[in-house]
Symmetry: C2
Subunit: 495 residues, 2 copies
Amino acid sequence: MTSGYATLTDRFARIATVGEASAILGWDAATMMPAGGGAARGDQLAVLAGIAHAMLTAPETGEALAKAEATPPEDAWQGANLRLMRHSYTRATALPADLVEATARANSACEKVWREARKASDFAMVRDKLAEVVGLARQAAQALSPVLGLSPYDSLMDGYQRGVTAADVEPVFDAYEAFLRDALPRAEEIQAAKPAPIRPAGPFSADRQEVLCRELSKAAGLDYDHARLDRSAHPFCGGIPSDIRITTRYNEDDFTQALMGVLHETGHALYERHLPHDYARQPVGEAAGMAAHESQSLIVEMQACRSDAYLAWLGPKLQATFGGEAAAYAPDNLAGIWRRIERGFIRVEADEMTYPAHVILRFRLERALIAGDLAVADLPGAWNDGLHALLGITPPNDARGCLQDIHWYDGGFGYFPSYTLGAMAAAQLMAAARRAVPDLDGELARGNLGALQSWLATHVHGQGSRLGFNDLLAAATGKKLDPSDFTAHLTSRYL
Amino acid sequence: MTSGYATLTDRFARIATVGEASAILGWDAATMMPAGGGAARGDQLAVLAGIAHAMLTAPETGEALAKAEATPPEDAWQGANLRLMRHSYTRATALPADLVEATARANSACEKVWREARKASDFAMVRDKLAEVVGLARQAAQALSPVLGLSPYDSLMDGYQRGVTAADVEPVFDAYEAFLRDALPRAEEIQAAKPAPIRPAGPFSADRQEVLCRELSKAAGLDYDHARLDRSAHPFCGGIPSDIRITTRYNEDDFTQALMGVLHETGHALYERHLPHDYARQPVGEAAGMAAHESQSLIVEMQACRSDAYLAWLGPKLQATFGGEAAAYAPDNLAGIWRRIERGFIRVEADEMTYPAHVILRFRLERALIAGDLAVADLPGAWNDGLHALLGITPPNDARGCLQDIHWYDGGFGYFPSYTLGAMAAAQLMAAARRAVPDLDGELARGNLGALQSWLATHVHGQGSRLGFNDLLAAATGKKLDPSDFTAHLTSRYL
């Protein structure tokens, strides 16, 4: 180990430890904090972010990097770690401090107005604020582009999922659009020919839902010596690998959201939990990106836990918990509820077949916004036209159209593709796991995700960020991202 | 405002904000964190402490101090703030980094062994570790002494309660010992002549206790938009002024500990909540010290909430909550339970009359340890002799003797006097509040601490650290610390 490299691992470990503090404080703000603590919490997170940024961008970091890079790495992990450190330093130092500050201020102001605009379904209310946010995001993209050697939009995507570009995504999304044009009407026809599923009769006590959620997440592999499950307005997986905090919310009329939400967050949690311990607090020890992360939540929620095998195990458990007629909990009936295809306006409510259409729409629009090919004022029209072209429906208003997601209004451009790349990777990894794990369905039929998770721990989680997204998939499945496993999964499940 | 001063307020605000993050993380560790998060949490707190320490001791702090001190302060608050900044800087820079590190390591190691030694009631197990801790504390005291212009022991006391020295405490404690020699047997005689109180019959559900605790703390003035009440192994008041976290534990056989504990922590919480907002995150905006803080918990718990007037209001409320026979909840009967005098071995279980004896014992012993007049090996004997001289009883073993408190084994020397100085100050402040607030007992008889807290907010809480302990008392009550109000209170309540 070179002395420059040792300096770097110390420094990045300290930066990561400050980030851990912020992660717990962020969880607390969403779950525990009384409303009156909000202003001080904002200051605390800003000060910690400032401290971490200063540690990362300090001249000493650059000097240690140069020194370490002059020595050949001891192994692939060290080499990857060093490249990721350089990447992190390059991104952080590329943005002038005044741009970072102006962006934080503009994003925060825009997000506040967006909440009101969405309530009022009035895009005009937030248009100017969004224009400012887009302008600053374009400046950031321009600043990052030359130092990363990526196009401006790709520079923003790189902030969420390294190693994937718009040029990779575009043909995949175009092909999916073509698949959907054929598959969606057929799936709808097949679905319409079946009897409508019976809704289990509520109410479903939140406390019982919570006990069940805890049990299912345990059966899926979550170790509560290193995790908590709490309630928040929006479900998320937070905390740190040795102290994971997942959340959900409970609707006493319908347990779907809580149950599937917890299984989804459990997938994220297991990824964090199984990251390579030897590289904890190092860039190479982190998850491989947002698309990779989403693949892990979706392989649990969509691939494993909405499978026939798992539903056959889950149905009786649900009936034992909530009572009511057995027919409502029959696996076929649950599948009818939880695998229902529907052309809708809202991304977060979408089924797995139409979900990518929502993402494709946003990917195309945000690319155009960042390229300057679409004016913010023209966004609502472009949104409605785009959704109509993809799904044949037109939102009745902007609240159910271009105002529905927080991402852009909070400055998040380049994130949306991760959702669908993750869904595709989940199908690809599941197919590989099925080949590798004998009787995976038999395991799922006992509610046991252990064999699947053990395979993922080796081939995905334990790899940290050593490999890029496509190389990770190639090492695990024998090929780079290939959407045919996803369309094959949809075909098998719906057609 | 001088530019040096502005630099300092910014810097101290950032240091305090890092401290706020640590405060919330500390609360989380005691209430929410799964066991598996402990190691990482230790790292997070150590890194944040290191960052705050580095910001405080940086040469830039010294330069800004020198510059600001060259300009006359704008007002008394600024002057006091500057003096406190200097004091903080002086303390932090006086200790060599290797001593700080060795102390942290030794304290942590000793505390771990102490837990085992206390279980086994075997002082010999921890003797050498404690000797090391005492040795390092003596070194710290020697290093602080010349720069603070205080004796070594006073330098340690100064870390908990500025402006009070052993020379102030000694005559007060000697006089109390004399008072107790006469008062305790008389109080015991009076108590023995009364019928034994009836214990309310349990069990008392923890959930009901919690609802009641929340209600009582609200009635005492705690605003839950800026506070939480949770459960932890040891009750405490944590968090920050705009986001206070109090905790307690529930024993389903007896609600005394939870109820009185929450009222005690509520007193601490109200102090924090009413600190001067204009000086938030500045040294002058902090509480005036640990004795001052304890005065605020005890004025609520001991002075207000164990008064006849308050018990008359509380009794029916308890009966409505827990049911059972009315006689057990009669104010006189509750007074018989909650104002019971008893010579015991354990400080934290002691009544308000014998509690100071436990503190006097520890004050004398820790002074002798720091002065080098008492060898660690001789501590158990000195303890037993000292307790016998004060209370006429001898502990049956070291677990109930010199091993009972964590303080010394964790490196805390100079803290113990604060408990009794606080109890005395509470009586003195209550006497002054009674003179200033018409019909204070009438308010207490309605469970209302508003008038008392409003007086305290003006005369204590809102003063922050502008005044030292004695000057604060003098401004609020017309005289420096005067134990006669405390003995008058005891005489009136017990004799």
